[in-house]
Every structure is written in structure tokens, then in C-alpha cells.
């Protein structure tokens, strides 16, 4: 199974500014001070091998959209944030004119998780089948509302794809095209749902827009059970712990620290920090990642946990 991240930012899309690019260039020049490069290749190799990710790359700015490639001809994706536009281009290119079947799993319908759908190309292709799964009663209403006047010029009825909305229930596993899927209720304004996907002995948990209060034993046990022994957990790490339990308490998001703690309790193999705070620079996200890796190291028991940070374009092979 391959996981492909099309959008990893929380709340609202962001883009690098001219000042951000200038800052990265200045940092690279300082790091290269005194060196001479005989060719573009030498300079490229230096950048690749010697400079931090936050200087040579960007974590990206699209909101939540994560694809799971299972080997099945159908597509599986979580959320329709602004990353869904690029995901749609990928589907259209790969299908080369053949209509696609896309299974969409919705964590919830806050705007940053549905805003990419009006720009999702396959929705405009006759013969395409879209199955949109979710646990909210207002799932279909939310998709229709954002494509109603005066919000968007193309109405939902004008979409050419066959679109089906499928209501799921928390804690009730079901199977779709060989993939076992279990939704889990999470703490978020208006509720959100995580999804555990299992296929061929591998398991992935997509858990975004979820606040965790580890002192609440029953909730913690439920989430640990949901994460238990997963190969990969994609986790809402929007804030620092101090923010998440002070000024941003009850805002419905979590932290890198709680991600490490929950994944250690559940013996998860790989934690991926996700739903990055839009106000955070690439350097700030990189620091949050290093902090989480260091916390894991400090508190490691018998079980080692790998910690990464998602970025737009990241692919993880399981």
C-alpha cells in the first residue's frame, strides 16, 4: 500500500511568499559560505545532502487530502481539502480518458476539508463514480451548499459524475473494494471521525481534527484501541501542547507531544504529523518534528516509534 499526501495543512491553504523564498535562499547561501560549485549538479547535491528540509523544500500549503493506493483499480482518498485539485489531475492523467471510481472518506465537513471538491476534475467527467462516505447526517447537504449560489458558479447538479453519499457509523467496520474501514468518533466541534484502513495485513489510521485529553481515561483507551499496532498513524499535530491545553483548548486539535504519547501507548510503528498550523513556517514545522522525534527518544520503552511530518507530495510505501 502507498500513501500519497496531496494536502497537509490545517484550516486554510497557504503559499510561500516572496519573503519566504528570499529567506530560504539567504539561509542556503550562508550554509554554502566559502564553497565553490563547478556545476549545477554539484550545487544540487550540496542542497540535497547538506541543507535542512525547511531550506530546500516546503511542507506545502494545501488543506487535507490523503490518498491510499491499494493496488485496486479504484481510488481511495481521505477528505477533499484544497489538495483535491491536484489529486484530481493525478486521477485524470492516470485514467487517460477512462472513467474512474473514487471512494472518498470524510473526516467532517468543515470548509477546509471540502473546499477542493468543486475543483476536483473527475467530478466533471461523465461515467466517473464518486462514493462519498461519512458519519455526519449533513454530509450531502454540506457538499451541495458549497456549490450553491452565491458561493460557486457551478451547481452540484451540473457535475457529470454519478455521486453517491454513504452514511457510516462510528465503531462499525465495513469493507469497500477489498479495504476494511472502521470509523471512529473524535472530539471536534460538530464531531469528526477518524478512519482505520486495513488491507493485506497492513493498517493505516487517518486521524485529523481531533482533540485528545489524555487525563480522560475512557476516551484515551478508545483512541489507543483505534490506533493499536497500526503501521502508520496520520495525526493532527496542529499546535504545541502548551497552546492546545491553554489558549486553544477546546479548539478541536492536538499536538506533536500527544501524538507521540498516544502512538507509544498503542505501539504504533510510524507517526506522521499532519494538519499543520497555517501560521507556522517551514522552519517551525521542522522544529515541531524534531521536538517530537526527541520526545520519542527521551521516553522510548521497548518499542521504537518512527516520527515524520507530512508534506504535500510525500509518498510513504508500506
Amino acid at each position: 500500500m502507498r500513501v500519497r499526501f496531496w494536502g497537509t495543512r490545517g484550516s486554510i491553504p497557504v503559499a510561500l511568499t516572496a519573503a519566504d523564498i528570499r529567506d530560504k535562499l539567504a539561509r542556503a547561501l550562508v550554509a554554502a559560505s566559502g564553497r565553490r560549485f563547478g556545476s549545477y549538479g554539484e550545487a544540487y547535491a550540496f542542497a540535497e545532502e547538506s541543507l535542512p528540509f525547511s531550506v530546500t523544500h516546503s511542507f506545502g500549503g494545501h488543506t487535507s487530502c490523503v490518498e491510499f493506493e491499494t493496488g485496486h483499480e479504484e481510488y481511495f482518498v481521505c477528505d477533499m481539502g484544497s489538495g483535491a485539485r491536484a489529486f484530481g489531475e493525478h486521477v485524470l492523467a492516470r485514467q487517460a480518458g477512462r472513467p474512474a471510481t473514487v471512494n472518498v472518506f470524510m473526516s467532517h465537513v468543515h470548509w477546509d476539508h471540502i473546499m477542493g471538491f468543486p475543483f476536483f476534475g473527475p467530478a466533471y467527467v461523465p461515467g466517473t463514480r464518486l462514493r462519498i462516505y461519512g458519519c455526519h447526517d449533513i454530509l450531502e447537504q454540506a457538499f451541495r451548499l458549497q456549490q450553491s449560489p452565491p458561493c460557486f458558479p457551478v451547481s452540484f447538479e451540473q457535475l457529470e459524475a454519478t455521486i453517491e453519499f454513504v452514511k457510516l457509523a462510528s465503531g462499525h467496520p465495513f469493507e469497500v473494494s477489498g479495504l476494511r474501514v472502521t470509523p471512529q468518533l473524535q472530539r471536534h466541534s460538530g464531531d469528526s471521525y477518524g478512519y482505520r484502513f486495513e488491507i493485506g495485513g497492513r493498517s493505516i489510521v487517518y486521524s485529523t481534527d481531533s482533540e485528545h485529553k489524555l487525563e480522560e481515561r475512557a476516551q484515551t483507551e478508545a483512541i489507543v484501541g483505534f490506533f493499536r499496532d497500526a503501521d502508520l498513524v496520520i495525526f493532527d499535530a496542529m499546535y504545541s501542547l502548551a497552546e492546545a491545553i491553554s489558549v486553544k483548548e477546546d479548539w478541536g486539535h492536538s499536538s506533536n507531544v500527544v501524538g507521540v504519547e498516544l502512538c507509544q501507548l498503542a505501539r504504533v510503528k510510524h507517526l506522521v504529523l499532519f494538519h499543520h498550523e497555517p501560521a507556522n513556517s517551514d522552519a517551525a514545522i521542522e522544529t515541531a518534528l524534531r521536538d517530537a522525534q526527541r520526545l520519542e527518544e527521551l521516553t522510548r520503552g521497548k518499542h521504537a516509534l518512527r516520527v515524520s511530518a507530512a508534506h504535500d507530495g510525500l509518498e510513504i510505501e508500506l
Binding site: 485529553k213 489524555l214 487525563e215 481515561r217 484515551t220 504545541s240 501542547l241 502548551a242 497552546e243 491545553i245 491553554s246 499536538s255 506533536n256 507531544v257 500527544v258 504519547e261 521536538d291 517530537a292 526527541r294 520526545l295 527521551l298 521516553t299
Partner: protein, 124 residues
């Protein structure tokens, strides 16, 4: 978790020991609230001497946050001191050092509270 304390002038030094996590944070929260009540009545600041604390989890840090809010509501003060290296690093990683005043030693913490407190500490 037993919470021993010593008073130095206008400050009370409270010393948690062992590990503070989701298993014992409720009891710690209750004990700390009692200490905070007494400090409030005495008009004393509360210094948390972390030298005996081996580990603190997010649930434990939340107890400190609640205590800090309670202290602020009563115009009282709570500061942290003498954390072991692992706990000091956890405070930094969680950004708690931006929420609560953190001092390297108990003496420095007392000095931040009042001259009388640090004088009492120096006298032993």
C-alpha cells in the same frame, strides 16, 4: 504521589516525586489544589521544585496549566524550578516554558518571588 512542602517566607516550595502521567494526574491535581488554596490564604507564591520528578506527560502538564490558571484567578503565583534534564527538555518541547516561569534552581525561583523568600532559603 506524596506532595511534601517547605515554607520560605512568602513562598511555599512543593516537591512532587516520581512520575506524573495519566495514571496519577487526578490525585496530583487534587493535592496541588489543596497546596494552592493554602498558599492563597497565606498570600504565598507556590514554587514547584521538580528535582524529584523523573517524567511528566501531557496529562501531568495539563495539571500544571490548570493550577496556573487557578493561581492567576486568585492573583497568586506559581513557578517551576530545578527540573531534571529529561523533564526540563519535555517542558521545552511542549512549550511550557512559555506558559510558566521556569528556573534552573529553587533559589532562583524563590529570588523571583520575593527577597524575603530567598533570604529565608539562604538561612536554611
Amino acid at each position: 504521589m506524596p506532595l511534601s512542602h517547605r515554607s520560605y517566607g512568602t513562598a511555599r516550595v512543593v516537591s512532587p516525586r516520581g512520575r506524573l502521567d495519566h495514571d496519577n494526574c487526578e490525585a496530583f491535581q487534587r493535592d496541588l489544589a489543596v497546596q494552592l488554596d493554602e498558599c492563597s490564604r497565606e498570600g504565598a507564591a507556590l514554587v514547584l521544585d521538580m528535582s524529584g520528578l523523573e517524567y511528566v506527560s501531557s496529562a501531568g502538564l495539563r495539571c500544571l496549566m490548570i493550577a496556573a490558571k487557578q493561581a492567576a484567578a486568585r492573583a497568586s503565583r506559581i513557578v517551576v524550578a530545578s527540573a531534571q534534564p529529561v523533564v526540563a527538555e519535555i517542558l521545552q518541547i511542549s512549550r511550557f516554558n512559555l506558559v510558566l516561569p521556569v528556573f534552573g534552581t529553587t533559589r532562583e525561583a524563590l529570588a523571583s518571588v520575593s527577597p524575603q523568600a530567598v533570604e529565608a532559603y539562604d538561612r536554611g
